[in-house]
């Protein structure tokens, strides 16, 4: 059967059908495989032997590997899906599984490993890091191969007893959609006969035939025992090839362990593995067609390395070989595939198997999904034809430091002339990608058409760019690289033309579709000059439609996908127009049928209205404007931002040379401030006459776009006309004006501020003191206002009332304009953290949403103030964040200790009065901290005056003097980290007694990887990996931490009680010991209207799902009850909270009886917990554990 699917589904489909257990954990880009397995299992889809596989989510990949090991020892056919760090966490068990000759296949969407920076994209760094474990490594180069070789791996592991990693390139193959022939169950059963399954079972542990496996061995036998497995590895290549041959007999698709393609008597050969091998093979076909004596060698089995097969496959005429590795081993003599090939050939030459030893060179390509295009492959062949080729090289980048990089022709296109190429530029929420996936399915359903789609996404979670690359043609499409010289370019937002070079991907004579709000006769003049010029130069045909208007009129505001998809079919000529429209409508009925008739009707109406609204735009002979797009960043931005950051922002990051990038992953703070994204047409707009200056809007703003200041009236001299202010309504400051500045270009239009605002203008109950208004009419004025606002002085921190929400609005946020989802529930807490403590904070951030919106290039939101101080931020890993943060604390404590010791030594030198004041300073209140900062500054001045003559003690003290100001160490992460993968570490760090502050941004689900269940997911909620509704209660992390007695614990929800949130943050930070804040964070994965996020927080608290509590060990020490219940008794039923969220409603529709049962249990749990909490709130203090730490 022919289907159009992506690589993940292709692999998972076989893996699922051939296993009994899937132990899973989400990690990009492999998560889809696990999600599919979970969904199939919940649908009771059986494997080929009639069993419905068990799918078990674990707390980490390490846990998954452990469960796998156990299940395999128990005799179950078991598999897992992972990538990158996940695979690394499996390594210890992989040695065990291989050492015990246990049959299994791990399916890996190969991905980069976090080094100088994390990357979710594809290369072979992860699989190369397990090549020594004893697992066989089998590489698929395409979506079809990912399907076929998944079977080969499973059949081979059972025949050889050697465990397999079956891998394919993350994103490039895992996420590429292509037409694939599915393997029927009969073929699977044929290649994996039940006899093999039974043999696997017979090797299991059983008390009926007991034995011991997993012994500890001594020097006498360990070595020999390690050598026992050699015959199994020797046999493996041959067995894999025989399985491939059997598969070919069934399918007509032959595969080789090492496959040669190209000239019969080549002089030069390029060796490659993974999707890049497809590009190499296609390019060599092109070169040979031009007469070149060139060849390509695709390696499919990498471990055990098929040395004999490689020598046999390489034609004897070869004189030079280039080996391409998609990984980097700093400090090695070469990358692994290169070394393997070189060793193999050298040995073959030594023993006379090949007459002439070819010259072998090695190159790196494609790290983190960097493109490998035919032009780049040609560059590699060109290098081989050089008189003196470089022994080591890179291709695809400009390495102006090591001089390793090859030059390539970016314009080379070798694709089938019968193929149609199309590129679509959209933004995240507009449905462009979804529509293109639909288009691919429509076209791919024609048995004569082959189709391919690949999508490039932004690193921003809101308003990010999506670029869809589509190919259609009569022949199989083997082009695993982005489309260039497209025949059709769709620009689904006119504004993108101002930001990126959309037309770079257009071929001459291409069709350009613009979604433009202007009437057709005004569209041309609205285009900036370079775009007009490119249209003229490339002789493009231009069409335009106001898709937003068509969608709006059809009752689908903001959803232009159907309209623009119809345009594509109408003008691309890919199908006859009438037939195409019918197919679009059929697809609509299929896609939206279950979503309701009205949804279908409106989409069909949108299709019908499209053609009339689509207009061809005449292209004049010359440009009609001299308007240039705005520069990506202001001219006065720092050098690095102007040269490097701006290039990344404009989509030209590929052009940045090695020399321009930091050597150790260190980047400047606060670069989001330079990126005015203007992602919302509607922005917050302040009404000074109505405003009561309460600060709530600013407090809840997830994007830090609402800033308040109060200034003397004289400071407003020179303010732009209309600069809004109001008399400050606080007592004691006459002649002072208040202003609330909206950073309009950074506002995402989430409207949380509007929801939170407590006042309305008189007679206008539906308006607030802050409202959403169109950006365009106020854009210029707001730019001027922001510029002026930034010149106004900030409030002195020591004069701000830190204890009130009203006061905090005057504190500068040092976390701003992040790329988080519009209306994010997490970021207001981070912003608050930086307002209160940012000047002296270091932040350890677990991998997840917060590390992505917090640290994904090109621009990052953690900022610094005018004095150059601000939070120092780092992300280590997902699993180790608590430990990482503790390390920062320990280092700070060491250096504080050293500073104090040196200061005591130098007391008389620097002045006893100053030294004593510093050493004895209390540092809790802001004025105390301000005073200490001034003292330390004075100390540093005196130390500088003393200079080097002061000796090593002075130098020492100068290097650590900043630690004399109390440092605020924050450990930040989501619930996936705190409740699951990092749980052990968090527990240990909380038990350490050290002064760290842990902030858990609890979305109750793995948000960053797409909503998988965690142990924070509540009872009755549906999530991925809990599609039948979570059947266990959410872990009470607060109670666990309270049990230690010396941990400050708070559970907060800003939308329910902002003041309690503020109090908790301040108490936690001031507490000299471990603190834990669990913060309710509404999330898109809850299935809510994000503008109602705060209301939902309120309901979470009002229903008793999220009781607000604080546990302060210092209160116990003072004789009080340390447990404070901050929210009133539940006053709405749980159902009134949960059924506002799609994650709960889903179960109610899919399984009403189960939903009812689980809701009743969840309500019971709420009631029980409330009773427990009430009892705790009335306990005598002595019944709580004492803080046993030694004081002083």
């Amino acid at each position: 059967m022919r289907v159009t699917i992506d690589g993940n589904e292709a692999a998972a489909d076989v893996a699922y059908r051939l296993n009994e257990l899937c132990a899973i954990y989400p990690i990009t880009p492999s998560s889809t495989m696990a999600e599919l397995a979970d969904e199939w299992s919940s649908h009771r889809r059986p494997n080929v032997w009639g069993t419905v596989p068990t799918v078990m989510e674990m707390q980490s990949e390490g846990g998954a590997a452990g469960a796998m090991h156990g299940a395999l020892q128990g005799g179950a056919l078991s598999t897992t899906f992972t990538a990158s760090q996940g695979l690394l966490l499996m390594i210890p068990n992989m040695y065990k599984i291989a050492g015990e000759l246990t049959s299994t296949v791990f399916h890996v969407a190969a991905r980069s490993i976090a080094a100088q920076g994390l990357s979710i994209f594809g290369d072979h760094s992860d699989v190369m890091a397990v090549r020594q474990t004893g697992f066989a490594l089998l590489s698929s180069a395409s979506v079809q191969e990912a399907h076929d070789l998944a079977l080969v791996a499973q059949a081979a592991t059972l025949r050889t007893r050697v465990p397999f990693v079956h891998f394919f390139d993350g994103f490039r193959t895992s996420h590429e959609i292509n037409t694939v022939e599915l393997l029927p169950d009969e073929v699977l059963r044929e290649l994996v006969p039940e006899q093999l399954v039974r043999e696997h079972r017979l090797r299991a542990l059983t008390p009926e035939r007991p034995f011991v496996r997993g012994t500890a061995q001594n020097p006498d036998v360990y070595f020999q025992a390690r050598e026992t497995v050699n015959p199994f590895y020797s046999r493996t290549p041959g067995i894999v090839q025989s399985v491939m041959d059997e598969l070919a007999a069934h399918t007509g698709r032959p595969y080789g362990l090492v496959e040669y393609a190209g000239h019969d008597a080549p002089e030069v050969v390029v060796v490659c593995m993974g999707s890049g091998a497809q590009t190499v093979r296609e390019t060599v076909t092109h070169l040979v067609g031009g007469g070149a004596r060139a060849g390509a060698l695709q390696v499919r089995l990498y471990r055990p390395f098929p040395a004999a097969e490689l020598v046999a496959a390489l034609p004897a005429s070869v004189r030079r070989v280039a080996v391409l590795d998609r990984t980097k081993e700093p400090g090695s003599n070469g990358e692994p595939l290169f070394l393997d090939v070189l060793t193999t050939l050298a040995e073959a030459h030594q023993r006379g198997a090949i007459e002439t030893m070819p010259q072998v060179i090695g190159g790196r390509y494609g790290l983190s999904s960097k493109e490998l295009t035919p032009g780049m492959v040609c560059a590699v062949y060109d290098e081989l034809w050089e008189e003196y080729p470089r022994s080591r090289f890179t291709v695809g980048i400009t390495d102006d430091v090591g001089g390793t990089s090859l030059l390539w022709d970016p314009d080379l296109v070798i694709e089938d002339p019968a193929m149609l190429r199309a590129v679509f530029y959209g933004i995240g929420s507009d449905g462009t990608v979804g529509a293109n996936k639909n288009t691919i399915k429509i076209l791919g359903s024609d048995p004569k058409v082959h189709a391919q789609a690949y999508f490039v996404y932004d690193s921003k979670k809101s308003g990010g760019l999506t670029v869809s690359h589509l190919r259609f043609g009569p022949h199989p499409i083997r082009a695993p690289y982005l489309v260039s010289k497209a025949h059709f370019v769709g620009c689904h937002h006119l504004g993108l033309l101002e930001k990126i070079d959309v037309l770079a991907s257009a071929g001459d004579g291409a069709t350009l579709l613009l979604n433009a709000p202007q009437p057709a006769d005004e569209v041309w003049d609205a285009l900036p000059r370079p775009v007009q010029q490119a249209i003229i130069d490339k002789k493009l045909t231009v069409w335009a439609i106001d898709a937003d208007a068509v969608a709006r009129e059809a009752g689908l505001p903001g959803r232009t996908n159907t309209v623009l998809q119809t345009c594509f079919f109408a003008i691309s000529g890919v199908l006859p127009r009438r037939a195409a429209i019918e197919k679009v409508k059929a697809a609509i009925r299929k896609t939206y049928g279950r979503r309701g008739s009205e949804v279908v009707r409106r989409n069909e109406a949108a299709v019908d209205a499209t053609i009339a609204a689509l207009h061809e735009i005449p292209v004049p002979a010359a440009v009609s404007t001299d308007r240039e797009p705005d520069p990506a960043v202001p001219a006065d931005a720092p050098d690095f931002v102007r040269t490097v950051t701006a290039a990344m922002m404009a989509g030209r990051g590929d052009e940045i040379p090695v020399s321009a990038l930091p050597v150790d992953g260190t980047y400047p703070s606060g670069t989001t401030a330079y990126e005015k994204r203007r992602i919302s047409d509607l922005v917050a707009t302040w009404d000074p006459d109505t405003c009561i200056q309460c600060g709530t809007c600013s407090f809840v703003c997830p994007h830090s776009v609402l800033r308040a200041k109060y200034v003397g009236e004289d400071a407003l001299t020179g303010a732009p006309a209309g600069f809004p202010t109001a008399p400050l309504n606080a007592a004691g400051l006459p002649d002072t004006r208040y202003t609330l500045q909206v950073y309009a270009e950074d506002c995402t239009g989430c409207s949380l501020c509007v929801e939170a605002c407590p006042v309305s203008p008189v007679g206008e109950p539906h308006r607030k003191a802050i409202n959403l208004e169109p950006l365009e009419p106020q854009l210029q004025a707001q730019r001027g206002n922001v510029a002026f606002f930034e010149t106004l002085p900030l409030a002195e921190r020591s004069r701000v009332d830190f204890g009130t929400v009203r006061g905090t609005q005057f504190l500068q946020p040092l976390f701003e304009f992040s790329g988080a989802c519009s209306g994010c529930g997490e970021t207001p807490y981070l912003k608050l953290l930086t307002q209160l403590f940012g000047e002296r904070a270091t932040v350890a951030n677990a991998t997840g949403c917060s590390s992505i919106y917090g640290g994904n290039l090109p621009t990052t939101p953690w900022a610094k103030n005018a004095a150059g101080r601000g939070p120092a931020w780092s992300n280590s890993l997902f699993e180790d964040n608590a430990e990482f943060g503790l390390g920062l604390r320990l280092a700070a404590d060491l250096h504080t200790g050293l500073a104090r010791e040196r200061l005591r030594e130098l007391r008389d030198v620097v002045g006893p009065e100053l030294a004593d004041a510093i050493l004895d300073a209390r540092q809790v209140r802001e004025f105390e901290l301000t005073a200490q900062r001034e003292r330390v500054a004075e100390l540093l001045r005196r130390l500088a005056d003393i200079g080097e003559v002061g000796g090593p003690a002075v130098a020492d003290l100068r290097s650590v003097a900043d630690h004399l100001l109390r440092r605020s160490v924050w450990i930040v992460g989501g619930d996936g980290w705190a409740y699951d993968i990092g749980s052990g570490g968090l527990d240990h760090v909380l038990a350490s007694g050290r002064d760290v502050n842990v902030l858990v941004l609890d979305t109750e689900v793995y948000s960053n990887t797409g909503g998988q269940s965690s142990k924070a997911t509540p009872l009755a909620a549906v999530a991925k990996f809990a599609s039948g509704g979570k059947a266990t209660a959410k872990k009470d992390l607060a109670l666990q931490a309270i049990a230690y007695g010396n941990v400050y614990v708070a559970r907060v929800a800003m939308g329910a009680d902002p003041h309690q949130t503020l109090t908790a943050f301040r108490e936690a930070e001031a507490y000299d010991g471990p603190s834990l804040i669990i913060a309710y964070s509404h999330c898109i994965a809850h299935g809510i209207e994000m503008s109602k996020g705060l209301d939902q927080q309120y309901r979470a608290v009002a229903s008793g799902h999220w009781p607000l509590v604080r546990y302060d060990p210092t209160v116990r020490a003072r004789g009080g009850n340390p447990f404070q219940l901050d929210s009133p008794r539940p006053r709405i039923p749980l159902g009134d909270y949960v059924y506002n969220e799609l994650r709960y409603r889903m179960l109610r529709s899919s399984d009403p009886a189960e939903a009812e049962r689980l809701l009743a249990l969840a309500q019971e749990a709420v009631d029980q917990r409330w009773a427990t909490y009430e009892e705790m709130a009335t306990r005598p203090p002595a019944r709580y554990a004492a803080d046993a730490r030694r004081k002083g």
């Binding site: 929420s429 996404y457 939206y592 948000s1007 999530a1023 009403p1152």
Partner: protein
Amino acid sequence: MPDLTTHYLGLALRNPVVASASPLSLHLKGVRALADAGVGAIVLYSLFEEEVHREQLRDLQIVEAHEDAFGEALSYFPRQHTPEPGAAHHYLRQIERAVAAVDVPVIASLNGSTPGGWASFAASMESAGAAAIELNIYAVPGDPHTPGRIVEDRHVEILHAVKAAVTVPVAVKLSPHFSSVGEVALRLDQAGADGLVLFNRFLHPDIDPETLSVEPGVALSTPQEARLPRAWIAILHGHVAGSLAATTGVETAEDVAAYLLAGADVVMTASALLRHGVTHATTLVEGLEAWLDRKGFAHIDGVRGRLAVPREADPTAYERAGYVAALERGRATYGSLTGQGG
């Protein structure tokens, strides 16, 4: 004791007092209370087309707004779940529960104005156990250019779609705002309506000068409003094959009797029950019994249509006569209505 049993939409009813769609049947407790109070049948609260559509679109928006936007998370929910909108789900569950809880017929009420998804909802309602479907076609042609015939055709179209989807009887609840109400009623009767419910009450939105806002207007009906439906029932009685149900302005047993005399098969009430409590239904039923006794009727069949417009009479003359008589009574009561201006 007189016999109150009757038939409506082919369903056997213990008496002709029917609880019409209202918030009273939102919860199972209310449904039980209505049955206990003695009503002959219960029309459940209305499932509003707008509500269902709004929920469909909202859920679509919630799911789609974040799909395929970010490389690590191309979706946020398991794929197989495409939830039925909450309102529809609730409604179907309420039908199931109500049918199980009471032994009088439970009629589902579908309120909307477009042909859209009526058919599938109606089929779901039938599967959930509804004894009949009441289509509450509530078209307010806000577009002043919409011709009357289009509005009428839409009623027939909706009725056809629903009739094709279900086997249980279907009643249509009409608005009185047609230029020829009678003709519309006859068209619907011919198109297969098993009954007509006269009339829908037009809930006029109103303007609040205090808050400067448009507020949805909700007011309970009064007995004075019963005259219009009663007149039309009197006219239609004997001209339609299906049942006739009267609604609006039923406050006392005498109001029920008046409707029966005009030709109604059943008499529906919501306002009186909301105003006086569910037990008022008992008052109506017992009052009707007493009235029948007092008037010497052994069975309500003997009452029905007694004061309807005779089949052979000229309805125009009847209306005209009623109008002239009303004017004359008005003059007698209030003085000249026409003379005040001059």
